[in-house]
Amino acid sequence: MSLLRQLIRGSTRWSSSRRLDIAIPARRPFHSMFRPHYTNVFPGAEIGSSRQRIEIENPATEEIICTVDAASPADVNAAVTAGMKAFQSGIWANKDVNHRFDVLIKLADMLKSRMSEFAKYESLQTGRPIREMNAQLARLPEWLTYHASLARTHTGRIPPFKGKMLNTLTYSPLGVVAQITPWNHPLLIAIKKIAPALAAGNSVVVKPSELAPVSVLLFAEMALEARIPEGVLNVVCGLGAETGKALCEDSRIAKIDLTGGTETGRAVCAAAGKNLIPVTAELGGKTPVLVFPDIEVERAVKGALFASFIAAGQTCVTGSRIIIHEDIYDQFAASFVAKANALRIGDPLDTKTQVSTVINRASIDRCQRFVDQALSEGGKLLCGGSPAPVNGKGHFFQPTVIEVTPEMALANEEVFGPVIALIRSPSPAHMLATANSTPFALGAALWTSSLSLAHSVSQQLDAGLVWVNTHHNNDPSSPWGGWKDSGMGKENGVEAFEGYLKCKSTVVNWGEAGGVDWFEDNKGARYG
């Protein structure tokens, strides 16, 4: 069972998952583009004789495509040591920013040239349609160039300090930072975190999800080719309970940046609390999509359909509850259901496929449980509701739409799958209250043609991200992150970059001699 899924349900912390204690994969990899086995990437350090391996499954065929090393606590220790060594040597942290800029731009170019290859890796290990991965990955080089550019242009400040004092605020990298990334957008989220951390001069130890680590491992290998020095970017694969825990509890780590479930977030923050280090956490969500009656209904339907079923509903900002004003509810629901029914399920590598698998068997079970519970609570099934294997194989689940009321479980809990709640709402005030009624506060979308309404509703939504007449658009320059149970801190933008720096305030006295002469009964002496 997926670690993430278990943790979201709150049943387990640091849970263990599928792990083999033998070195030989049970079956031959199906796709020849994969190596049979991938080792962790932390060059320059001693690799422990890891005997534990994790099997990577293709969710569309249920075949094992390769294995990866599960890093032991000793391996994690070695990776952090490698990071420390590189950081202390100054080979990256103290290098001229122009050098960091050049290397990151080179890395961006290399990524660009291998894009279709990476997209295929992503599709095969996650089951997500190749069309989605091609489109998503095409933008990833922008994250590297954006943060490389920030490294060149970022400045500190000189506050207007009282008196004859010169106060400089200067920034420096934190040290070795830990990054824990998920399986739903393996490379996107890894690069979102790696780019600002490296641009700011840190050393990084990334632990990708054990369900889809291959593209991140390959990216780290490529980074070495781009002349990121050894020890600066390390990847350790493994389970959260062992590898992730060891990494987060290492006292040498200066910051943890996590994307994952809310319960994982709590466990990670507890570990960070022990070491008193900052955390950026991008956790769960129950993104509301508010459809106001002044919008052209078809436009909102198309937008909501994308919001709900992209990545088979497995994103932290999946439009998983669509709150519709009653004036247009029937029209919206009819059109939305018709379109959801028509979505094409199939082979992820087929460019015509529109809806992918979910990540694994456990996820299928979870979707089914939510459907059953919603129906038992009185929800009305409008379409879907069952697994839909293709040729008897694959973790496919039908795009599912259920009409619910705001108090039902499906309207409040994160499914992380293609099971969408429709909520009929009598008034804008009710729409807003419903949207704000969960513990989550990550994304929200609203559809309206009124600019005043858009602005005022946006201001009142409990959400770190609000889209108006669109969904899930992002940009390396635009801060991304939630509040409440959805996390803290920001990815992207200057906020993310400064999150990987520490601020030093230096106060230089250049003319207030009396201020220091306190004990000479100097009446004018300054204190403060």
Partner: protein, 608 residues
């Protein structure tokens, strides 16, 4: 209440301007004062019935959104910091007995209680180095009330020698002011803001008899001026330099430092606001100032000098002079010790000032110049809101506002309804004595302005526009004036429609209550017409379409764009204001303004 959609930004901005504009509108047309204007075509035609509300939103956003009106902050009273004691030798000097009192104009001695009373005493001299004094030459000029053509006062007329004296005083005061603790400088500014609020009636009277501004809403000008100065008092603590560790072996810094002695030349149309926009950032950044008021409206600036005196600014930090552009103004622009000059006025004068600045010492120049601001009204707009907003924009201050929307482009589908309502509303404004609290429409500033506008009116009639309203000089009671000997400088609100785009009244700034209403059908075409001008100060669009609103906000070539509001909405103390193209250089208000009033120094510290 209709709010501009960006009103939630900063309480100061919200309070000082959104409230301002709403108040102005509310008070502009009390039903009891409506009268029939010179509407020739539509005044007697019954307006079409109001369309049923077609807005698909059946709910009111106000039920959903409770925008808290921020409380007005308590006045701090402007405590003077102990550090100011270094100026303790400086005492508030009693205004000497030989000051030049002026008699209130005889026309205003009416017994009606609606007439604002004159202040007991009107100061008319220059304020240099902390004292009021006559011009070196002893010259004065006569200020004439444009409502009555009667003389108001003899104003001391500064020339080059006075400018020199003022600059010397500012130069002497500069080091101590520059080095004074920011908290102490802020306290002076806050005290000045408080004093402005206490003297609203005096300011209103002085402006009314100088350039004819109706007194009914002058408290709003004073409030905006005070809020602008208070904002800058706060901004003192947020003027940062930068640090960079990007270059190996160096600690690099930037420091934001004052220019030194600065000059400002303000216009006559909204002197209080212009005064505050120059004085606030200039002093907050640590400069000292020589400010010249306009010869058409010198009295409020001299009143400000009295308050500056009371507020405890050290002598020489602010010097106020009255006089004319070609003499005193030119002396400031050419002065070798003045390091920066800020000017608000016409594009023609702005260019002269830039020329003089470059020919003398290449002083830094910021300019806020004219406009020919378009207002686009789409067929999905709230027509009544658009009529009220755009009508007030061109009517307020008798159209003597650089951001006034003087070109309206209305969608063909609603053109007739819009135009009828506009003409009815614009034509019913109450013309009268500016000192009368019921008056909503005063005279133009002086005979020169009047003659200028009359020339435009003739051109408008000759070049093919259809005259729907006004089009002529009127008397104080609103009846058509005959002959050039008519008293006062009143122009009736004037509307032309279907004016060729090449016509003078569509191309050039009129600075009067005169506008052109043209129609359009295509979105892209009207955007191109809006931008087909050398000006770029303000532009407005009324539409309910969110997509179109943002497209126009980005597409209009103007320093400020109003969406579902038009000027004077959209000006806030914390948001930069200024022009694209020939409407100006630089920005006023907000932190941008403070950057324009300070130099940047890079300090490279080599670490050995």
């Amino acid at each position: 209440m209709a709010l501009p959609f960006d009103a939630s930004r900063g309480w100061v901005g919200w309070y000082a301007w959104a409230w301002y504009v709403d108040q102005l509108r509310l008070r502009a047309y009390p039903a009891s004062t409506r009268r029939i204007g010179l509407a020739r075509l539509h005044a007697s035609a019954a307006p079409p019935p109001l369309p049923a509300c077609t807005h698909p939103l059946r709910f009111s956003t106000s039920t959903l959104v409770a925008i808290d009106r921020p409380p007005r902050l308590p006045n701090t009273g402007g405590l003077i910091h102990p550090r100011l004691e270094q100026f303790s030798s400086y005492k508030l000097q009693a205004i000497s007995s030989n000051h030049q009192d002026s008699m209130p104009p005889s026309a205003d001695t009416s017994s009606a209680s609606n007439i604002l009373a004159a202040p007991k005493r009107i100061e008319t001299r220059l304020y240099i180095n902390g004292e009021f004094r006559d011009a070196v030459s002893g010259k004065t000029f006569t200020l004439v009330n444009p409502a009555t053509d009667e003389p108001v006062a003899q104003i001391a007329e500064a020339d080059k020698e006075d400018v020199d004296a003022a600059v010397d005083a500012a130069e002497a005061a500069y080091p101590a002011w520059r080095d004074m603790d920011g908290h102490a400088r802020a306290a002076c500014l806050r005290k000045l803001a408080a004093l402005i609020r206490e003297n609203v009636d005096a300011f209103a009277y002085l402006e009314a008899v100088s350039m004819g501004r109706p007194v009914y809403n002058y408290d709003n000008d004073c409030e905006f001026a005070a809020a602008s100065i208070e904002y800058m008092a706060g901004a003192i603590h947020h003027l940062h330099g930068e640090t960079s560790l990007q270059s190996d072996g160096y600690l690099n810094l930037t420091l934001r430092q004052p220019f030194g002695v600065c000059a400002a030349i303000i216009p006559w149309n909204v002197p209080m606001i212009m005064f505050a926009w120059k004085l606030g950032p200039c002093l907050a950044a640590g400069n000292t100032l020589v400010l010249k008021s306009s010869e058409k409206a010198p009295l409020t600036s001299i009143k400000m000098a009295e308050l500056i005196h009371q507020a405890g600014f050290p002598p020489g930090v602010i010097n106020i002079i009255g006089g004319f552009g070609p003499t005193a103004g030119a002396a400031m622009a050419k002065h070798m010790k003045v390091r920066k000059i800020a000017f608000t006025g016409s594009a023609r004068t702005g260019k002269l000032i830039q020329e003089m600045a470059s020919q003398s010492n290449l002083k830094n120049v910021t300019l806020e110049l004219g406009g020919k601001s378009p207002c686009v009204v789409f067929d999905d707009a709230d027509i009544d809101a658009a009529v009220a907003g755009s009508q007030f924009s061109i009517q307020w201050n008798s159209g003597q506002i650089c951001i006034a929307n003087s070109r309206i482009y209305v969608h063909e589908k609603i053109a007739e309804e819009f135009t009828q309502k506009f003409v009815k509303s614009f034509g019913s404004v109450k013309i009268g004595n500016p000192l009368d609290k019921d008056t909503r429409h005063g005279p133009q500033a002086d005979k020169l302005q009047l003659a200028n506008i009359k020339r435009f009116l003739e051109k408008g009639k000759a070049e093919g526009g259809e005259l729907l309203l006004g089009g002529a000089q009127v008397t104080m009671d609103g009846t058509e004036a005959s002959g050039d000997e008519a008293k006062g400088c009143f122009v009736h609100p004037t509307v032309f429609s279907n004016v060729p785009e090449s016509a003078t009244i569509v191309k050039e700034e009129i600075f009067g209550p005169v506008l052109a209403i043209n129609t359009f059908t295509s979105e892209d075409e009207v955007l191109a017409r809006c931008n087909d001008t050398e000006y770029g100060l303000y532009a407005a669009v009324y539409t309910k379409s969110l997509d179109r609103a943002i497209k126009f906000a980005k597409g209009m070539e103007a320093g400020t764009v109003g969406v579902n509001c038009t000027s004077p909405s959209g000006l806030f103390v914390d948001m930069p204001f200024g022009g694209f193209k020939q409407s100006g250089v630089g920005r006023e208000c907000g932190m941008d303004s403070l950057h324009h009033w300070s130099e940047v120094k890079t300090v490279a510290i080599k670490l050995s």
